[in-house]
Amino acid sequence: MQEQETSKGKKEINGFLPFYTNAFDRVFIGVVILIGIHLLWLRFMEPALPIEAATVISLVIGYIVVRRG
């Protein structure tokens, strides 16, 4: 199969995510998590902590995902 050849390139990282990802995929996952956390934050955590906290948290998670995912 052709896809598997390419998805085996050297840029693919075998990190903690349950599938092979390239850099673009991990940035995408990071953005998805960022948006998700912000929405949930707006709904549930806003009165307690301002939205900036969500940004910080998701940036940290995003960084981990991009580097190690």
Binding site: M1, E3, Q4, S7, K8, N14, P18, F19, Y20, T21, F28, V32, I35, H38, L39, L42, R43, E46, I51
Partner: protein, 290 residues
């Protein structure tokens, strides 16, 4: 010999069209999503209001309800379509006289325009006009009025969608089934597998890519369904799917900023769901045969 530049050249007309008519509007919607903008209001003004649209959105019960409804609609409709489509495709792999006639008849609904599908089904279910409420009332003593009962409206739209899109699933399944090599199936039979085992261990793995791709396409289209359901129920209770909810926010209420932010979130949910399916299709999961 294969210069990537040629490849990009071949790809470029597609990319240009999609960037112009797909991505550019998206950027615009993204921009407006963070603004307060009433398109037709007297004071013409986009007012930047940061996350306010989204703050409103996560507490908007109508919106959350519409997401739930869309999910129910998609799950029930697509689930039935896959099962029915598979059964029909399985029936079509046999040979019997008149097979192609039945196949053509079964393909017909796919060709009806969504707006016409909505019109047809509206004709079927309008009280005092269509046969469905009349005979249900007469034979089963069942009051059927999609305008008054949200559940009935939801089920009607599910059935309508099944009627409209099962042929598509049947065709893809049929193509998938006819591509399955014969030897493994026969081998399994010889080894004493019963019908269910053959289906589960041989047919299904072969069918998996086709199945997932079909589900992918159907999910994508089911979430953005507007015209059919709009025509059927006019956006009445029980059919306020997300697409229709956006429509109502944008057009009658002209609350364009808010409508944009809802679209963005809907798009977000769709993309995440489809991306996961895509990963499953392209077989990039770990632990699989390499």
């Amino acid at each position: 010999m294969r210069n990537p530049r040629t490849g990009w050249l071949l790809l470029s007309p597609t990319l240009i069209i999609l960037l112009l008519f797909g991505f550019a509007p998206f950027l615009y919607v993204l921009f407006v999503g963070f603004n307060q903008w009433n398109v037709f209001s007297a004071d013409d003004g986009l007012v930047f209001n940061g996350l306010d649209n989204f703050r409103r959105l996560v507490f908007d019960d109508d919106f959350l309800h519409s997401v739930g409804l869309t999910a129910r609609f998609a799950i029930f409709a697509i689930g039935s379509e896959v099962v029915l489509g598979f059964v029909l495709a399985q029936m079509l792999t046999r040979n019997f006289p008149g097979k192609s006639l039945f196949r053509i008849i079964h393909t017909l609904p796919l060709m009806v325009a969504p707006i016409a599908v909505g019109a047809i089904w509206r004709l079927l279910v309008i009280p005092g006009f269509g046969p469905v409420p009349f005979f249900l009332d007469r034979w089963f003593d069942l009051k059927y009025q999609i305008g008054s009962y949200p559940d009935q409206a939801l089920w009607t739209s599910v059935i309508m969608d099944v009627w409209h899109w099962t042929p598509f699933v049947t065709l893809t399944m049929l193509a998938g089934l006819s591509a399955i090599p014969k030897e493994p199936v026969e081998q399994a039979r010889v080894d004493g597998a019963n019908r269910f085992q053959v289906f589960w261990y041989v047919t299904l793995p072969f069918l998996r890519p086709v199945l997932l791709t079909t589900v992918f396409i159907r999910i994508m289209d089911a979430i953005r369904t507007v015209d059919e359901v709009w025509m059927l129920a006019g956006g009445g209770p029980g059919t306020r799917f997300t697409g229709i909810y956006i429509w109502r926010v944008v057009f009658p209420r002209t609350d364009y900023g808010y409508g944009s932010s809802i679209s963005l979130i809907t798009l977000y949910l769709t993309i995440v769901l489809c991306w996961l399916l895509f990963i499953a299709i392209s077989g990039r999961r770990k632990g699989e045969v390499e």
